[in-house]
Amino acid sequence: MIQKTGPGLSTFTAPEASRANALHAGAWWLWALGLAVAASRTTNPLLLGLLVGVAGYVVAARRTDAPWARSYGAFVKLGLFVVFLRVVFSLLLGSPIPGTHELFTLPEVPLPDWAQGVRIGGRVTAEQLVFALYDGAKLATLLICVGAANALANPARLLKSLPGALYEAGVAVVVAMTFAPNMVADVARLRTARRLRGRPTGGVRAVLQIGLPVLEGALERSIAVAASMDARGYGRTALVPASVRRTTNVLTLGGLLGVCAGSYGLLAAEGAGYGLPLLGAGLLAAMAGLRLGGRRTVRTRYRPDRWGPRAWLVAGSGVAVAVLMIWANAYAPEALHPGVVPLEAPELPLWPAVSILVGLLPAFVAPAPKENA
């Protein structure tokens, strides 16, 4: 922890980030999911823009230079692509939204009778485009919120909070995920190497020809990592009595079955009575199974992230945004969903906007990353 020089305002400013005061990765995810839930409750482009702005500001203020922190830009691009795709589909396939403001008409492709209800081309109205735009913007905002969590929280750190029985599977997943960026790097390297052979670096043929070496390289690397993990004690297990092992299996399997049956009961029309208790019992049994299974692993955790007051504040601000937006749906539904038919300009409702700004809290309370010279 950073030593404070004296009491006063400095006590409340965010400390410089280090391993010791790192914010729990789960807090960042809760905050981002809170924003995402809020985004899913509105189609008002001004509010959505505000959400994106809040997420972007926090990312800009608190992300590090680490490679995983660079994913934010990719998510923003993906979001824009989603908006674009949504609008293009609406243009081409038409929309059930009835509209009166006709913009232009695309040539319509005649379709046989059995394809009734499907339309390609045809009339394009302003209402339909605005609806597609709002809808796409909502999806894009959800994606950007996920991207913000990705950029702010190290995925490997989140793993440390998994129960012991799931940790090893988790490591395997994380290692597997690192292969995507490695393969992208390989493709780039081999494509430039093609230049050295005097071949063009672009085109389908280039990709096909380097495909095999890239896969070979990925395979070799995964074997090397597996060997290294094995030599460093991955998968060491403690001896547990056979009875404990069997109980673990019964509890986990039984618990999962209970969860399945319970959720079916909840969703089906006639099973509401037994659904909830079955689901609860299944969850309990599965948790007990996981806990017991954790005894088999000998591993310990090095400096797990602590859930401190700052984590409460960050996670709380995200949850607050979600709750306030859900509540806003009750008191100002029309402001959150600006009309499309008839077309009207969206306006910025005061209270929902203020409640979104609560999401800015992490930019002030989360530990600030070191400034790089």
Binding site: R197, G198, T201, S228, A231, R232, R236, Y302
Partner: protein, 578 residues
């Protein structure tokens, strides 16, 4: 500590066993160095200690390997993890987590050590290896030397009794290599760790070894005994054998104490006149001994001018046209005020460099200094941010690849990147087609540089040195007057290196200009007419090899250190002078 009893290892498809009947005992707290030419099973022997051979690699192991009394037959690698720490050839394939501190803790977490113990050991190891400043850094952002230290640190934290390292310094610059070796020596001296390591660059490690194990004979003995008979040996040993010093010196310091007599005999003789491959700028005409498969490259007159400083030329050109200076030939490679930015990093800043036909230039400098970036810019893989690059009058990044390969060829750090085909024959046919050369050109080069390689061999089955030579042949098919090599001796044994040196010398004699980026000071001493030292993206020294290298302790070869202040660089020069 480690016992091998009549151990043989054979992999499935091979007819011959890789290791045969090895018997050895490594006592506790010794640093044992494994030496031998490529392909004699050094990596297999190391793998057998950690149990990865045969548990992970497959194959059949007969005999018995025990480590601290544990039989590897009944203990898979993970059950030996608390006893043996292994670092393979490529440290980046070793990492499981993504930050330095987590990586150091990973092994201990797997073993289930208490959090307080882990915390203490991580702090100790950070200090021991000088990694404290890097503790929060993502591993992806580290340099090669830093990665190697993190990899060693990550196996040290569980306090293994045995440390197994496969070529720990091959990718490192001389000073980073010294750091790593100093750490190993400290572990042996202070903690009593047993260290078993394989390394091709003996000049770096032999003085640290307590015992040397020579493969394939399987003899173990003191370094001096083994070096007296070993076919692979560092230059200091070669010089000692030449001068008949007894006992054989292993360190530069020992050798220098005995070098008085030799220095007297060499006094008054001129090493420069005895360069086995005279620089074109010094002697005018180089000996013409072309490889039969190669047409000599048309070369400009090279009287004077190779050492001409670029700045002066710039000033001159303000007042007179270059064509009016008949005594200054146009350089084959002309780089002026070159700067390259990668993202926010200025990888190169204001580089001036000229290379003439027939000249060999070594680019040296620490890991990450910008050597590879410079080579990539010269072949047009990167566009210059500012400044100009001209190869035979063309700007590489705007020239079509097909045309460029007839002007400049690069053998990359990983020669495998250049090879796509399934067989050597197919690779050669493709190279002929790419370069527009007559069919059979590449195959003729391969047969000459690499005798005895069958057409049907898969490039992956070649040894490191053979693969490099194949890539070299592919590049040479286009007959580029300018040849670039990036770290050509990584993973090569002395024999493969000697063959490479011979090839490159005859290419230079044919009028090829060669630029090689290397950490290998001995290679630079043997080949280069000029050494250019790059630091932090700038050229900090540029001059004849003897002058640059002798004045810099990190980059001088062993012979130069022993015979300083005389300007001898290689054992070969001394031998010829005597």
């Amino acid at each position: 500590m480690i016992r091998f009893e009549n151990v043989s290892v054979r992999y499935e498809d091979d007819t011959e066993p890789t290791l045969r009947g090895v018997d050895l005992t490594v006592p506790e707290g010794e640093l044992v160095l494994l030496v031998g030419p490529s392909g004699v099973g050094k990596s297999t022997l190391l793998g057998a200690v950690s149990g990865l051979v045969p548990h992970f690699t497959g194959g059949t192991l007969t005999g018995r390997v025990t480590v601290d009394g544990r039989d590897t037959r009944t203990h898979p690698p993970r059950e030996l993890a608390d006893l043996v720490g292994t670092v393979g050839q490529d440290p980046s394939a070793h990492f499981v987590t993504d930050t330095v501190e987590d990586e150091l803790a990973y092994g201990m977490e797997s073993l289930g050590l208490a959090p307080a113990v882990m915390r203490r050991r991580v702090e100790e190891t950070l200090d021991l290896l000088g990694l404290a400043e890097l503790r929060d850094r993502p591993i992806a952002t580290l340099s090669g030397g830093q990665r190697q230290r993190v990899a060693i640190g990550s196996v040290l934290t569980p306090h293994p009794k045995v440390l197994v390292l496969d070529e720990p310094t091959s990718a490192l610059d001389p000073s980073a290599a010294e750091d790593v070796l100093a750490v190993l020596q400290r572990l042996v001296h202070d903690l009593g760790t047993t260290v078993l390591l394989a390394e091709h660059r003996l000049e770096r490690v032999v003085q640290y070894a307590d015992q040397v194990l020579l493969l394939p004979e399987g003899v173990m003995g003191s370094p001096a005994e083994i070096m007296a008979v070993s076919p692979v040996h560092p230059p200091v040993v070669a010089l000692g054998r030449l001068a008949g010093w007894e006992p054989l010196p292993l360190t530069v310091r020992d050798a220098r104490r005995r070098a008085g007599g030799l220095k007297e005999r060499l006094e008054g003789r001129d090493p420069a006149g005895r360069l086995p491959h005279p620089a074109p700028s010094r002697t005018g005409a180089a000996p013409q001994a072309p490889l039969s498969g190669l047409r000599p490259v048309p070369r400009a007159s090279t009287a004077g001018g190779a050492g001409f400083p670029a700045r002066t030329r710039l000033n001159l050109s303000l007042f007179q046209r270059r064509r009016t200076e008949p005594e200054t030939p146009t350089p084959l490679l002309h780089v002026e005020a070159l700067a390259v930015r990668r993202g926010r990093v200025e990888a190169l800043r204001h580089i001036d460099l000229q290379v003439h036909a027939g000249e060999t230039v070594a680019l040296m400098g620490r890991n990450g200094a910008g050597k590879s970036t410079l080579l990539s810019t010269l072949v047009g893989m990167l566009a210059p941010t500012s400044g100009t690059v001209r190869v035979a009058g063309r700007a590489p990044h705007t020239t079509a690849p097909g045309e460029l390969i007839r002007q400049v060829g690069l053998v990359p750090q990983e020669p495998r990147d250049l090879l796509y085909a399934d067989t050597v024959a197919a690779e050669c046919a493709a190279a002929d087609a790419d370069a527009g050369a007559a069919p059979g050109t590449c195959r003729a080069l391969v047969s000459e540089l690499l005798p005895g390689v069958a057409d049907g061999t898969h490039p992956r089955d070649l040894s490191e040195g053979q693969r490099l030579t194949l890539a070299l042949a592919v590049v040479l098919t286009g007959r580029p007057p300018l040849l670039l090599l990036d770290e050509p001796t990584r993973g090569l044994d002395y024999a493969a290196k000697a063959r490479l040196v011979t090839h490159l010398r005859s290419l230079a004699a044919d009028g090829h200009a060669i630029v090689l980026a290397t950490h290998d000071v001995e290679l630079a001493a043997e080949l280069a007419h000029r050494v250019v030292i790059v630091a932090d993206g700038e050229v900090v020294a540029d001059g004849p090899t003897a002058e640059v290298v002798v004045s810099s302790p990190a980059f001088s070869p062993q012979v130069a250190k022993i015979l300083a202040p005389q300007h001898w660089l290689t054992v070969e020069q001394v031998e010829e002078a005597l």
